[in-house]
């Protein structure tokens, strides 16, 4: 995270040309999913397929976090029996997946987006409302 911040500070010295916001997709209900539609502002910067793959992977990771499966039920029942005090000591499944997501975004930024003058912001920093893509001015 500290790396990202120093990277961001560096980037702030490079002028921010624009910001694109990928909104949430509510067609499947209240689960966290983002729209995979490719924004027109990024057409000159990145491959449509590459971008859609990133968003789709993020969607899959969020779906995994919120999945109603046997693991989440066991966690829920155990929590209920202990009057939910285990939430104070244990890291929940959701939090573990959020860490995975943060790592994935960091990796994508380093490998794919930073060389193209773009920066993805982790949606959790925006309250899981949007994926913020910052477009920096093209120095070349």
């Amino acid at each position: 995270m500290a790396e990202t911040h120093s990277l961001q500070d560096m980037r702030q010295q490079a002028a921010v040309a624009a910001k694109v916001f990928i909104q949430r997709d509510y067609t499947k209900g209240t689960v966290c999913q983002f729209q995979t539609k490719f924004p027109s502002e990024l057409e000159t910067r990145i491959d449509k397929q590459q971008f859609e793959e990133t968003v789709q992977t993020l969607n899959n990771l969020y779906a995994e976090a919120e999945k109603l499966g046997s693991q989440s039920y066991i966690e829920g029942c155990l929590a209920c029996l202990t009057a939910y005090t285990i939430f104070l000591c244990m890291e929940t499944h959701y939090e573990k997946v959020l860490k995975k997501i943060a790592k994935y975004i960091q990796e994508q930024n380093d490998k794919i987006y930073a060389p193209r003058g773009l920066l993805l912001t982790d949606p959790i920093e925006r309250g899981l409302r949007v994926i913020e893509v910052t477009i920096f001015e093209d120095r070349s």
């Binding site: 916001f21 829920g76 409302r129």
Partner: protein
């Protein structure tokens, strides 16, 4: 400062408010003196919440009657343990204080968790996001004309759902989210604002709230039953109806002891019983009896109502408004329900625990922390149109009244 100036300013560097009061300079001085103590996000939180333990604990500004709730539970249980348990342990079984103690601890823990947990507050939109949304909405831009409520329609599981724009938080509210005017926050899966608990009940603390009211109904029913038994057993000591029945066991070939205990309850309500006399000799027990009698019906009713809501995956807000009951049209069904009672219950009560989105203990980036000295007012001035801020606030109030 006109609105044009605000639009030209880079949102990354928030401007300081023009009337620069001494506290602002004071904060700057503090920053210079203590550069190693950046501010935490809870210190600039725009909603009406109070934070303790450096942001670890949060409550709504209006704590409502939470002290009363806690007081009633503690006092009633305390009286029970002090005055009734010794008698009942001697005459019945020693399991009674154990069960009572377990229920009491459970109730208090779940009550505190309901009150002190973030209910699922959505952080407000950043200025960039708000500007982006404003661009997408078709706006006449006329300052004196009251803009129509902004809505967006989405299709969820083949059901049309309208998303409303929140003027306070500057974003389109996700489905099932509502803005609580008491806490001034948008809360996900908003159920209701509970004054007894002193907090909103939403996505993150609904399971705590449900467990609290169910365990509380067990506790009040248990105490009510024990207190009634206690009084009944004491009545047997006097020349009551029960004592007379006990004199002739031959007439009752079946388990007459159980029948006697059952009938002893009625002896309390018959006019010839010694209850008034007993109450005078056992005032704490009488107090418990009165409190439990009135609480047990209301709490049981509330538990039953919420069990129905859990089974059909509804919120109190939706149930009251009749969003999915078909009043507004035909073929309107709840799009969030899994159409199976068991799955609905599991998903609401045992589903994955979502994280808190407001990150109250996170640190503000250093450039933001210097400018947010005038806490709470940094967002509205950066909206595109400052001249309609008053109009916007009035409209927001109207919108929040309608939900």
């Amino acid at each position: 400062m006109t609105s044009c100036e605000y639009q030209q300013i880079d949102p990354q560097a928030l401007p300081t408010p023009t009337p620069a009061p001494p506290p602002h300079h004071g904060n700057d001085r503090d920053k210079r003196e203590e550069p190693k103590r950046p501010r935490r996000k809870w210190q600039v939180f725009p909603g009406k919440n109070r934070f303790y333990c450096d942001g670890r604990i949060m409550v709504a500004r209006q704590s409502g009657v939470l002290p009363l709730t806690l007081g009633l539970i503690v006092i009633t249980s305390g009286l029970f343990f002090i005055f009734d348990c010794p008698f009942l342990v001697k005459h019945l079984t020693s399991c009674i204080p154990v069960i009572g103690g377990g229920l009491f601890v459970f109730v208090v823990i779940t009550l505190l968790q309901t009150s002190l947990t973030d209910p699922g507050i959505l952080p407000r939109a950043t200025p960039d996001e708000a500007a982006d949304i404003e661009k997408q909405i078709d706006n006449t831009g006329n300052a004196s004309y009251r803009p129509p409520p902004r809505t967006k329609e989405v299709l969820i599981n083949q059901q049309v759902v309208k998303l409303k724009y929140c003027f306070s938080c500057k974003m389109f509210r996700p489905p099932r989210t509502s803005h609580c005017s008491l806490c001034d926050n948008c809360v996900e899966r908003f159920d209701h604002h509970c004054p007894w608990v002193g907090n909103c009940v939403g996505k993150r603390n609904y399971r705590f709230f449900y467990t609290f009211i169910v365990s509380l109904s067990f506790l009040t029913a248990f105490i009510f039953g024990c207190v009634t038994t206690h009084l009944a057993l004491r009545a047997q000591g006097g020349k009551g109806l029960v004592f007379a029945l006990q004199e002739s066991p031959g007439r009752y070939p079946f388990n007459h002891k159980r029948v006697l205990k059952f009938l002893s309850v009625f002896s309390l309500i018959s006019p010839s019983s010694n209850v008034p006399m007993l109450s005078l000799t056992q005032p704490p027990t009488a107090v418990e009896l009165v409190i439990c009698f009135f609480s047990v019906w209301s709490i049981l009713g509330l538990s039953g109502f919420h069990t129905y809501l859990v089974a059909s995956n509804l919120t109190t807000n939706e149930d009251i408004k009749g969003s999915w009951s078909g009043k507004s049209g035909e073929g309107v069904t709840n799009p969030y329900s899994h159409k199976n009672i068991f799955i609905n219950c599991c998903s609401v009560l045992c589903g994955p625990m979502p994280p808190s989105l407001i990150d109250r203990r996170g640190f503000l980036p250093t450039d933001e922390s210097v400018q947010t000295a005038g806490a709470g007012i940094e967002l509205p001035p950066l909206a595109a149109k400052s001249e309609i801020n008053v109009e916007v606030k009035c409209l927001d109030f109207a919108v929040s009244c309608t939900g």
